[in-house]
């Protein structure tokens, strides 16, 4: 039984479909990369999986007793208001919130998880800085650390490499690979086709109206669309 499966999904805003006929499943330990051009509906799919919006038709099924508080999520954009007073540490710790249940404060192990993830992403030295005053890449690292804190079974990432410098993004891919090896399911949206093909076990390629491909990486590289897209090295499309 897949951990997460989507059946005949039709997604969109206010009744207008963006993508339709999406059917795929993700099993425990899979590493799924979602690729496709800008505006094809990748972020929309992720929001639907997370139940932030309802699909027009079809359904998202979770198996394995997957609960919302076992999910980690890195949004593509966070509409954080200007002037929001929040330190990096406060933002990262918010990722531990879902472990806590009704307990009003973080305990030692949760604080340690937050500290560890900040170290992993190299932002422990700016833990006390104001989130709003960081650079785009530093903000991205803070949100990644928050997502890692929230993850227990599955991690959904919407363009995690956006804004990261080459060294940081290589480290990020290694970090996620290590998590995946430890059994965490990964679903990642990425425009970095080289990295997608390198790390993923499965690929979902979304076209302008429907899914163009879903299957294992090996099948994707063998398919016509995979050869075209991967051959472009992520540029252009």
């Amino acid at each position: 039984m897949p951990q997460l499966s989507c059946q005949d999904l039709c997604l969109g805003y206010e009744g207008k479909a963006v993508v339709s006929d999406l059917t795929f499943g993700v099993c425990v330990g899979d590493y799924l990369c979602i690729v496709g051009e800008n505006g094809s509906g990748k972020s929309t799919l992720m929001k639907t999986i997370l139940k932030l919006m309802a699909p027009i038709s079809g359904q998202v099924l979770t198996g394995d007793g997957l609960a919302a508080n076992e999910i980690g999520y890195l949004p593509q954009q966070t509409a954080v208001q200007k002037d929001f007073p929040a330190s990096v540490r406060e933002v990262v710790r918010a990722g531990c919130l879902n472990r806590r249940g009704m307990r009003p404060f973080y305990n030692k192990s949760e604080k340690r998880i937050a500290d560890d993830n900040m170290k992993k992403l190299g932002i422990d030295s700016i833990a006390k800085r104001c989130y709003r005053e960081l650079s785009g890449g530093q903000q991205q690292r803070a949100l990644l650390a928050r997502a890692l804190c929230a993850t227990r079974k599955i991690l959904l990432l919407d363009e995690p490499a956006a804004g990261l410098d080459p060294k940081a993004s290589a480290e990020m891919y290694d970090l996620i690979m290590a998590l995946n090896s430890g059994g965490t399911t990964i679903i990642m949206i990425s425009h970095d086709i080289a990295a997608s093909v390198k790390y993923a076990s499965h690929i979902l390629h979304i076209g302008s109206q429907s899914a163009l491909f879903f299957g294992t990486k090996a099948d994707y590289l063998g398919s016509e669309i995979g050869r075209i897209y991967a051959g472009l090295g992520g540029e252009g499309i």
């Binding site: 919302a68 929001f84 007073p85 919130l97």
Partner: protein
Amino acid sequence: MTTAMNQLTLYFQFPFVRYAMIVGVLIALCSSLLGVTLVLKRFSFIGDGLSHVAFGAIAIATALNLTNSFLLVLPVTIISAILLLRTGQNTKIKGDAAIAMISVGALAIGYLIMNLFAGSSNLAGDVCATLFGSTSILTLTMTEVWLCVILSALVIAVFVLFYHKIFSVTFDEDFATATGTNAKTYNLILAVIIAVIIVLAINLVGTLLIAALVVFPAMSAMRVFKSFKSVTICSVGVSVVCAALGILISILAGTPVGSTIVAADIAGFIIFSAFGFIMRR
């Protein structure tokens, strides 16, 4: 200076002055706790709308000759808060229009009812007192003081218990929802707390000046501090100090309590703005 001190000692021998001080400080504390969240979630205008609803409810309570208007005003305001929050979430423009309609409507109907039914000869004085809270803080009954203490304690307890969740929902509602925090519940809790704070604050500053009590301390603190915790603590401090100062000054100088407190809050905002400006140089 000594005469002022003597005068204050004299005044504080009256129980109603002590009550006013206790209630004033508690209300200032509660309203500033949620200031940051309300400002950032753009709920401050809902607060404004709600205060007008509360005015309408007070008018009805006066017309009905209710001895304890709390009993009517509190539920009406809480229900309106929940309704306003619902409409506000659906569609932005319609939500704004709905709030404007409800708040202005409640204001007009309230004044109409006061005119039609109020037996008091001093109508303008009554209306002015409700709008600006000029005297009601000095005429609190023992029940009102206790009610205020209990409600404040509840507000503070809820805030402390849900502090981290309120932060997370305010900072990034999508992430909070996606990772299993029920943002809707917390928005509901926020709405109820706003309603309670507004009903409490009517006693202190009247319905027109409540927004100032919520917004100014938070804005002052945000000039200088950068983390949620420090801003929250600082705005509580600023609010309490300004309220205490405002009440003392109004006793000594005979100025209206509500507007004096708001004036103190404005002064605090100017000082903190200047401080923040200097620190950034």
